[in-house]
Amino acid sequence: MSNAIITHDLKKTYGKRTVVHDLHLRVPQGCVYGFLGPNGSGKSTTMKMLLSLVRPTAGEVHVLGRPMRRSTRRELLGEIGSLIEAPPAYGHLTGAENMRLVRHLLDLDQGQVQRAVQTVRLQDHLDKRVREYSLGMRQRLGIAMALAREPRVLILDEPTNGLDPAGIEEVRDLLTRLAARGITVMVSSHLLGEIDRTASVLGILAGGRMLFQGTREQLFSRSTPDVLVDTPEPERATTLAGRWNAVRDGDRVRVPGLDHAATAHLVDRLVHERIPVHGVRREEQSLEDVFMDLTGGRGL
């Protein structure tokens, strides 16, 4: 799979403060790329550099195989829809008027505008002034404005910020539908749960550095989930498995950091000692847990 967005040694420094360190982004074409990190980790600055809204101190950005620079940006921006920080829109105008000015600016036809509006399901609210919109409606209008040009790449900075759970679900669903249409979607968030199930590829940023980049599966394989042994004799089993740092966890035994071979060895020992084993399984691991592992327990 080729990459829609690539950066090489991307760096941004403000005065003496480096906010983005030597970033090597790889955003595969047609995926939803979840760009995760706490507030102030450099996500917005990175996204601004991808759009050449901010010039990098060092390094390069390539979008759809072409270098993104000040001299090339206007041409490339025709392929990219974006929503950075707050949603755009002119509050004194109605939703329809906002879409009309986008149509004039980008020389689009009415059909393109209508499709974008229908994609975000805003067609019934177009006659209202945007200043009367809820935040969720403004976010959706912002996404419609970004979608109207039918971009191949969509860069959305915290599009679920400030939305209620229903609004978040709606944006998630929208991103999945867009990716199914072949659009590469890069979406940032400081909340893991918001992109957890939507993103197929993740980039995790902290302090301007990439902690991890890859698929969800790769991320999960980074850390080994605990082995849980169900047994009617947890006390004996815990003592027996003491050399693997086992701990008793209610009616079962929890053994951390056990690879496949060690797990087989443990089961063999339990059976050998005639300790009844009702079940052996790996603990269900959430992305949150993996995250905690990755960030040394600090979370994001």
Binding site: K48, L53, L77, L83, Y90, L106
Partner: protein
């Protein structure tokens, strides 16, 4: 470029700009009329006197301040929310953005002049019962004033592009108008014409005999004003476009 201008026209809907376009020239007309009535001296030279009393003062400060407010209003919406990021994240070139913003500011400045002319005619007929209509020479002068507003619109648009503050560019305009007036008062004409504030004041004085004006409406002199205005506009628009293109978003 036409698309960018059409988009700017959409943004003017329900804009406060129209209130400025209506009230600023009417204030100038009312002030001129009230001063004339209070002084007890009717406009002795008919339309000429009325024009001078209303338009010359209007051209010293209110016009510059008005264009500055209009430019600030035109740019204010872009400094809000995510609009700046969206503006710079689209295909529309920096030059097209600057030209579109300057065009709508200049168009609003032209509307100011149109309201002013209508105001002078209404005051002349209804209040002072002047014979005939406003002489055509003042319509020609009005066209020159509109052209002289182009560099002012370009400069104020550029300042409002660079400054998030609404009031700061207006303050710059008032300071600039003061300098322009001082230059005209001291009859330092060449530098005053190169300053957009001085140029626009000078244009409002054409044919009145005020300050450095000789009272005539001669084509060569008007030609110089128009040529300087157009050259300044091109330079200011090009400069603003380069600045916008180089600038990073916040």
């Amino acid at each position: 470029m036409m698309g960018a201008i059409r988009a700017e026209l959409v943004k003017l809907r329900r804009s406060l700009s129209w209130a400025v376009v209506l009230f600023l020239p009417l204030m100038a007309v009312v002030t001129g009329v009230v001063n004339t009535l209070v002084s007890g001296q009717p406009p002795g030279d008919g339309w000429h006197t009325l024009w001078m009393r209303i338009v010359v003062f209007y051209g010293l400060f209110p016009l510059a301040a008005g264009v500055a407010v209009l430019a600030s209003l035109v740019w204010r919406v872009e400094h809000r929310g995510g609009n700046w990021n969206a503006l710079m994240g689209r295909v529309t070139s920096s030059l097209d953005i600057v030209v579109a913003k300057t065009t709508v500011t200049a168009a609003l400045a032209a509307a100011l002049q149109a309201v002013l002319v209508v105001g002078v005619i209404v005051a002349g007929k209804l209040v002072f019962d002047l014979p005939g209509l406003l002489p055509p020479r003042y319509l020609a002068v009005s066209v020159v004033i509109v052209v002289a507003c182009l560099p002012l619109a370009a400069l104020q648009s550029g300042l409002s592009m660079l400054m998030r503050s609404f009031a700061a560019p207006v303050a710059v305009a008032l300071a600039g108008a003061t300098v322009g007036t001082l230059l005209l008062l001291t009859r330092v004409e060449a530098p005053s014409l190169l300053l957009p504030y001085g140029l626009v004041s000078r244009a409002t004085q054409v044919g009145t005999g005020a300050f450095a004006d000789d009272g005539s409406v001669a084509l060569p002199a008007l030609g110089v004003l128009v040529a300087v205005a157009l050259a300044l506009t091109v330079a200011l628009v090009a400069g603003a476009a380069v600045l916008l293109d180089r600038r990073d978003v916040r």
